[in-house]
């Protein structure tokens, strides 16, 4: 043990500081007992340092590991998956303190710390998190520097200063690599952490059983328009369609899941915009009707929704061109249209009867749809996020008894009635509206903007969208959710600290907008800087550009840097010219052509002896040169380049001419 260097006090201090800084950003997803574990381990380690405690033996360590595993199993329910694995990682990072005896162990801990800093990005990759991570990185570097200090060093600041300097020096290199380093696709995709794939949308909806809709102000996506932003009443962001109804629950049908783009024809002026989507853990993408995207972003499914091959598990940037006035599947009856007429065998007799009544009254589809919308408008329906639970005939109960609900209720009920009246219809789920950030000319759509509406099909006209919620609460569509809510609902009253609640405070709102702007820039230019975008930027800078050229540039820059470094280290301009050495090199080269090579450790005299043995005819000339060299170099004879040159040329003329051997 005594031969192994221990851990200096400064390094231990900084290591503990670094551990706290590394663990803090993980706290949002770590179970609380982790704090206790760290406090215990750190306290134990400090006591070991003060020689008040011993290192735990094998049994104690084994027990701790089992305890941690049990804790993870209890709090996460599993030992696999990203969440459990990250808890396990942090626990390892903590427990390693207890077997940190030598510098080598401390090094392991420090490298593990760097890894933990990186894993924190899986949970939070905002600008604050990125800036914050400089802190633990600096602290870890400080611990690394401190590890090289003597155990007697007392002052904790010099290593910090050195580490800070190192970080600062690394910044230009970091920027350079950020801009130029090619981004490679992930080799495998990580499942999302549980708390990250928040989405207000799911692939089914069950309005009858929802007593209270949970509202989240988390961001769903941002859309930036190249031209003017359309009024929010037109912003219906389609995500998916729900076509199957079992009496209570709307869900996706198999017909919609066919990756065959349906027939449609462009009309009117297109809208161009970019979307930066937050990770949703789902495969669908958001677009206004009818969207067009590049092939590598996703593909259009049979119900006009866009879908990727893999779930969106990190922020995604894609470009869309939408044709809001396009005509969809107007020419022929779409395959699978019968799914849009599907109804449960029985149930909801009053609604069916009402539908039959309407059908008799309005034989034209358009007129019937208008009548249903008018019904919602005229009758005393209430838009609320706290509807009453519905009975077994949920549609009947809603349409004729409670008359309180949110978008899913209205869309579901209307689709049911249209189908009962023989009109193909389906529920579209997505987002509606969004908040315009005036300084950035982009729209932020949050999870509470999730919405459901209806589209119906008729021959010759194709699919058309209508929104029954607009009839009940037009302000929901035109101004946003908070305007549509009644007193009893209260906007975001489950999130008292959300800045969105205090929009009436102008300065706060402006502050929030600027902050959002900053985040948008981060998303757009930092996190979204990959693939296409990187290529485009580099093309802007360097004209025609491809990855091969980038590789060349990178290799060239690297070689240049190493060359400059070598120049600085070797300083060839400071070496004085050494004519004797130069002459001797020529002599060596000359003899090497005749197969006599000097070994590195061979002196001039022994080399000359050997050479004279191998070339006996030129022995005299070889010895003359060697003696001349020795006289000048070792005996303090007058330095004369000419004498050496003459001896060399004598030898050269004595030797048969050879270019190489």
């Amino acid at each position: 043990m005594s031969s192994l260097p221990g851990i200096p006090r400064i390094a231990l201090t900084w290591l503990l500081v670094a551990q706290v800084l590394v663990i803090v950003p993980h706290l949002v997803h770590l179970p609380l007992w982790m704090i206790a574990l760290w406090l215990g381990a750190a306290g134990w380690r400090v006591q070991i340092f003060r020689m008040r405690a011993r290192y735990p033996n094998g049994w104690a360590k084994g027990g701790l590991v089992l305890l941690v595993l049990a804790g993870i199993l209890l709090s996460r329910g599993t030992l696999v998956g990203l969440d459990a694995a990250s808890v396990l990682l942090i626990a390892t990072f903590t427990l390693k303190l207890l077997e940190m005896r030598t510098r080598r162990d401390a090094l392991v801990l420090i490298f593990l710390g760097f890894f933990c800093v990186v894993t924190a990005y899986l949970f939070e990759d905002g600008i604050l998190a990125a800036l914050y991570s400089l802190l633990p990185v600096t602290a870890l570097l400080t611990a690394l520097v401190g590890l090289q200090h003597s155990g007697f060093a007392e002052r904790p600041w010099p290593p910090l200063r050195l580490a800070g300097g190192l970080v600062l020096q690394a910044v230009p290199l970091m920027l350079l690599l950020f801009v130029f380093f090619p981004r490679m696709g992930p080799l495998w995709s990580l499942p999302l952490p549980n708390d990250k794939g928040v989405t207000g949308l799911s692939d089914s909806m069950e309005p009858a059983d929802i007593a209270e809709l949970s509202r989240s102000s988390a961001l769903a996506f941002r859309a930036s328009f190249e031209s003017e932003v359309p009024p929010r009443g037109q912003l219906y962001w389609r995500a998916l369609t729900l076509e199957r109804f079992d009496g209570r629950r709307w869900s996706q049908s198999g017909y919609a899941d066919v990756p065959v783009a349906p027939q449609w024809s462009k009309a009117g002026a297109p809208l161009d915009y970019n979307i930066i989507m937050q990770p949703s853990g789902k495969r669908w993408l958001y677009a206004l009707d009818v969207g067009e995207m590049a092939q590598d972003s996703g593909r259009m499914m049979n119900d006009f929704r866009w879908q990727r091959l893999r779930p969106v598990d990190r922020p995604l940037l894609y470009q869309v061109r939408s044709w809001p006035e396009a005509v969809r599947q107007a020419q022929a009856e779409p395959p699978g249209i019968r799914q849009a007429l599907q109804l449960p065998q029985q149930g909801d007799p009053r609604s069916r009867a009402w539908a039959a009544e309407l059908k008799a009254q309005y034989p034209q589809s358009d007129a019937l749809v208008a009548a249903v919308l008018q019904h919602f408008n005229r009758e005393p329906y209430v838009y609320t996020l706290r509807p009453q639970p519905l009975g077994s005939d949920s549609v009947d109960d809603f349409l004729f008894n409670t008359r309180r609900g949110f978008c899913a209720h209205y869309a579901g009920a209307m689709t049911f009635v249209l189908r009962a009246a023989g009109i193909p219809a389906r529920v579209v789920a997505g987002y509606q509206g969004g908040e315009l950030n005036p300084s950035g000319n982009y729209i932020q759509v949050r999870q509470f903007d999730a919405h459901a509406w209806v589209e119906y099909w008729q021959p010759g006209q194709g699919w058309r969208s209508v929104d029954p919620t607009f009839q009940v609460a037009p302000e929901r569509i035109e101004q946003g959710l908070e305007e549509a809510l009644t007193e009893e609902d209260g906007f975001l009253d489950d999130q008292p600290f959300s800045p969105l609640r205090y929009r009436e405070l102008a300065w706060l709102n402006q502050l929030r907008m600027s902050w959002e702007n900053l985040n948008y820039g981060w998303q757009r230019w930092v996190l979204g800087y990959q693939g296409e975008q990187q290529l485009k930027l580099l093309q802007n800078w360097f004209g025609s550009f491809d990855w091969q050229r980038l590789a060349l540039v990178l290799v060239g820059t690297g070689a240049l840097l190493i060359g400059l470094l070598a120049l600085c280290l070797l300083k060839p301009w400071q070496q004085r010219p050494d004519p004797q050495r130069q002459a001797f090199r020529k002599y060596e080269r000359l003899l090497a052509r005749h197969d006599v090579r000097r070994e590195a450790g061979e002196g001039a005299r022994s080399f000359a002896l050997r050479a004279a043995q191998q070339l006996p005819e030129q022995a005299a000339q070889i010895e003359t040169f060697a003696r001349c060299f020795e006289q000048q170099r070792y005996a303090g004879g007058p330095a004369s380049r000419d004498a050496l040159r003459k001896a060399l040329s004598d030898l050269r003329s004595a030797l048969p001419w050879r270019l190489s051997r």
Binding site: Q580, R581, F584, E599, A600, G601, E602, G603, A604, R605, S606, E630, R633, Y634, A635, G636
Partner: protein, 305 residues
């Protein structure tokens, strides 16, 4: 003058057959005012070599047989009460000779070893508060059995460092051994040897050694050698500045013996194995005797020019 050195060498070589290189190195060591450690098995001629050197150089000779019960006083001398004069009278020990042969030095306890080694370093001894100078010239040849022999106290590195050179005599070649078997007993030859140098001549030769020219290029070579031992991973530790001084002094003496007034890299290479062999250890085996292979590495890899 220099031819007298050659005569010395010839004379010793007549007694110690077939060991020209070692004899030359031993003389080099003496010219450079260094002490010599001879490490070999018993009966290889260690004593004969030292005795012969003492004879031809005209030095007074004393031999101390080191044993495990040898005390420092046995080496340095003691004060004995003289009842006639009523005073303590100092009786000098065997160390007060010009050439001291410390036979089997590693059989004595470290305490006795250090008494000798201090005298070697200081050139004087302090006994009972009185400092007494040792004769000039003062030259120690210590012999030791290889460390693996039983009942020995190996010299620590710090004390090995005080010897300028370590030599190993080795078995004689067959022809030399034949001559040895056919000729007279070696010990009988010794009293018949005549001294070739006197003290003044020896002192003059020793004074010439530091004047032998060592050019910048040669110093660079010595520095490269030393730097290699300090930076290359296979060395447990590098050579000390004392070692680099010793290397240069030995190379100068070697050049003087070769009748040159300047040093060339070959001189350094000739003395390198015996000067640094006992000061180097392999990192893989810090207590072992890996010096030899490290020296070979140095000779082969360090650029001589």
């Amino acid at each position: 003058m220099r031819t007298k050195l050659d005569t010395c060498l010839d004379s010793v070589n007549q007694v110690l057959l077939g060991k020209e290189a070692q004899v030359r190195l031993a003389l080099t060591c003496l010219l450079a005012r260094g002490h010599l450690l001879i490490e070999d098995l018993p009966g290889m001629g260690k004593t004969t070599l030292s005795h012969a050197l003492a004879r031809v150089l005209g030095l007074s000779f004393q031999r101390i047989q080191f044993t495990s019960d040898l005390l420092p006083g046995d080496i340095l001398g003691t004060s004995v009460f003289d009842k006639d004069s009523g005073q303590f009278v100092f009786h000098p020990g065997p160390i007060f000779a010009e050439l001291v042969l410390a036979d089997e030095i590693n059989r004595a306890t470290p305490k006795s070893q250090s008494a000798l080694l201090e005298a070697m370093e200081e050139g004087q001894v302090t006994i009972e508060g009185a400092t007494r100078p040792l004769p000039e010239p003062f030259f120690v040849i210590a012999t030791q059995n290889p460390v693996s022999s039983g009942g020995t106290f190996a010299l620590p590195e710090s004390q090995l460092d005080r010897f300028l050179m370590r030599l190993s005599l080795g078995y004689p070649a067959q022809a030399a051994e034949r001559a040895l078997l056919l000729g007279d007993a070696r010990r009988d030859l010794l009293p018949r040897m005549e001294s070739i140098l006197d003290h003044a001549e020896l002192a003059r030769l020793q004074a010439q050694v530091p004047k032998v020219r060592a050019s910048d290029a040669l110093i660079d070579y010595v520095l490269r050698l030393v730097e290699a031992t300090r930076s290359q991973p296979q060395f447990a530790w590098g050579l000390s500045p004392r070692a680099s001084l010793a290397l240069l002094a030995a190379a100068r003496a070697w050049a003087l013996l070769a009748e040159r007034d300047y040093v060339i890299p070959e001189d350094v290479q000739a003395v390198l194995p015996s000067v640094v062999g006992h000061r180097l250890r392999e990192r893989a085996d810090p207590t072992g005797h890996g010096g030899g292979s490290l020296v070979q590495w140095l000779l082969r890899e360090v650029p001589a020019l």
